[in-house]
C-alpha cells in the first residue's frame, strides 16, 4: 500500500532513491495509482505553465527608492557616528569664535550702573606720593597704560586711584579733581556695549549715562578699551573734559 503523500513527494523529487524506486514499482502494478501520479504531474505542469506573469516593474522601482533612502540614512548615520568628535569640536570652536568675534566687533553687553557701582568700591590702594610730580607722572602712565590718553595736570589734579575687579577684568579707577569738583575716570580693558547709555548729540562715539546722582560719559579706545568719566556735572561739561583726555596723546 503506497502512501498518497509519497506520490506527491515522488512528483516533487523529494523521495530518497530507495523510497522512490519502491513507489515507482507500485506505479507499474497499480493503474489507479499511476493515474493519480499523472494527475499530480499534470497539475504541477499546469501550475508552472499557466500561472500569470505579473507586471512588477513599478513595485520594483518603489523598492529601489526605499533602498536608496536606506542607503542615504545609513551614510549620514555612518558619518555622524564616525566623526561625532569632529562635529562636536567644530561646533565648540564655532561657539568660541562667535563669542570672540562678537566681543571684538560689538563689545560685551554691560549695564553702566553695574560698572559705576564698582567705582565706589575701589579705593586708592596704590596712591602715589602726590607731592612728587615725577612719581605721580610715572604712576599715571602706568595707570593709563596703552590707552594713549593723558591727564592734563594743569587742569586736573590726581587725587589717587586703584584697581578693582569686574567680571574677571582688572578695572583701573582714577580719582581726579578740577575747579568744579571731583571726578572719576574708569579704564576697562574691554570694548563694552553699554546698554543704558545714549550717544551724545554731535559726537556719536561718546555715550552718556546716569549713575544715580552722577552723570557719566563713556568712549572707546582702539576697539579694545572703554573709558568712563563720572562726576556730578552736566553731560556737555563731562564731554568737554573727556575730549581733552582723549585728545592729548595720539
Amino acid at each position: 500500500m503506497t502512501d498518497p503523500l509519497d506520490l506527491h513527494a515522488l512528483a516533487d523529487g523529494e523521495l530518497n532513491r530507495e523510497d522512490a524506486s519502491r513507489v515507482r514499482e507500485s506505479l507499474r502494478s497499480d493503474e489507479a495509482l499511476n493515474a493519480e501520479y499523472n494527475a499530480i504531474l499534470n497539475l504541477k505542469d499546469c501550475m508552472r505553465d499557466k500561472t500569470l506573469r505579473f507586471d512588477s516593474e513599478d513595485a520594483w522601482r518603489a523598492c529601489r527608492g526605499r533602498m536608496d533612502a536606506i542607503d542615504r540614512t545609513k551614510r549620514v548615520e555612518g558619518l555622524v557616528t564616525r566623526y561625532a568628535w569632529a562635529i562636536c569640536a567644530f561646533f565648540f570652536v564655532m561657539i568660541l569664535s562667535g563669542r570672540y568675534a562678537t566681543q571684538g566687533t560689538q563689545g560685551a553687553a554691560a549695564q553702566i550702573s553695574d560698572i559705576g557701582a564698582l567705582a565706589g568700591t575701589v579705593r586708592s590702594q596704590n596712591a602715589p606720593d602726590l607731592r612728587n610730580a615725577a612719581a605721580t607722572n610715572r604712576w599715571l602712565d602706568q595707570m593709563l597704560g596703552d590707552t594713549r590718553q593723558s591727564i592734563a595736570m594743569d587742569r586736573l589734579t590726581v587725587l589717587g586711584g586703584g584697581v578693582g575687579e569686574w567680571q574677571g577684568m582688572k578695572v583701573k579707577v582714577l580719582d581726579l579733581q578740577d575747579n568744579n569738583g571731583r571726578l572719576q575716570l574708569m579704564i576697562i580693558p574691554a570694548n563694552l556695549n553699554l546698554q543704558d547709555t545714549a550717544a551724545m548729540p554731535g559726537t556719536p562715539k561718546v555715550y552718556a549715562g546716569n549713575l544715580g546722582s552722577s552723570n557719566c560719559v563713556a568712549w572707546s579706545v582702539d576697539g579694545s578699551k572703554t573709558l568712563i568719566l563720572i562726576a556730578r556735572r552736566p553731560y556737555d561739561e563731562l564731554q568737554t573734559i573727556a575730549s581733552r583726555i582723549n585728545a592729548q596723546k595720539k
Binding site: 495509482l33 499530480i40 504541477k44 501550475m47 500561472t51 513595485a59
Partner: protein, 189 residues
C-alpha cells in the same frame, strides 16, 4: 567601508531584481490585493536588504520568499478575508486527485486559461495555497517551504497534497462552468 556598502547594494540588487517577479507574484497570490502585495513585497525587500549580511549565500530566492511568507503570516494574514485553514481538516485523509473522478486531464488543463488557474488558486485556503505556490510555482523544496511557513515537513507534505486536490476541484468547477465538462462528468454521481 563606503565601497563595501556600494558592493553590498549592487550584489543585493542584482539578485533581488532577478527574483522580484517571484516575490511580487507570491505576495499577490497570498494577499489577493495589488495594494497589499506592493506593500508586502516592498517591506520584504527592505527587510531582506537590512538582513543581507546574514544571508548564508545558499538560495537567495528561497531566503527572500521565506521573508515574504513570514511577513504575510505575521502581519497581513489577520487582515485577509476568505477561507482559512481552520475550515478544513489539515491532517485529514488526502483525497485522490483523479482516480475516482475520471476527469481527463486533457480536458481540465488544456482548456484552462491562466486567469482561471489564478482564480482557482485564489479559492484554495491560504495555508494550502501557500504550500502550492511555493512548491509548484516557485519550485521550493519541502524543507524550504517548512522553513518559510514554520511548520514541520510532514505538514508541508499534507498541505501540498490537500492544496493540489482542492486546486483540481476548483479547476473542475471552471471546466464545468465553461462547458468543457458535462454536469455529471467528474463527479461520483
Amino acid at each position: 567601508m563606503i565601497f563595501g556598502r556600494r558592493d553590498r547594494r549592487d550584489s543585493f540588487e542584482r539578485q533581488a531584481e532577478k527574483v522580484f517577479p517571484s516575490v511580487f507574484g507570491t505576495a499577490l497570490r497570498l494577499t489577493r490585493s495589488r495594494e497589499d502585495a506592493e506593500d508586502l513585497a516592498q517591506e520584504a525587500i527592505v527587510r531582506a536588504y537590512d538582513a543581507f549580511e546574514r544571508f548564508d549565500g545558499s538560495n537567495f530566492k528561497a531566503w527572500i520568499l521565506r521573508i515574504v511568507t513570514n511577513l504575510y503570516i505575521n502581519k497581513y494574514r489577520q487582515r485577509q478575508r476568505g477561507p482559512q485553514v481552520g475550515s478544513l481538516d489539515e491532517e485529514g485523509v488526502v483525497e485522490p486527485m483523479s482516480a475516482e473522478a475520471e476527469v481527463p486531464d486533457r480536458i481540465l488543463f488544456d482548456n484552462a486559461l491562466s486567469a482561471e488557474v489564478e482564480e482557482a488558486l485564489a479559492q484554495v485556503p491560504v495555508d494550502f495555497r501557500t504550500a502550492v505556490i511555493l512548491s509548484d510555482i516557485e519550485g521550493l523544496s519541502y524543507q524550504e517551504i517548512a522553513d518559510a511557513t514554520g511548520v514541520p515537513i510532514g505538514t508541508v507534505r499534507s498541505r501540498l497534497a490537500r492544496g493540489r486536490s482542492l486546486m483540481r476541484k476548483a479547476l473542475e468547477g471552471y471546466a464545468r462552468k465553461e462547458g468543457f465538462l458535462r454536469p455529471h462528468e467528474g463527479t461520483d454521481e
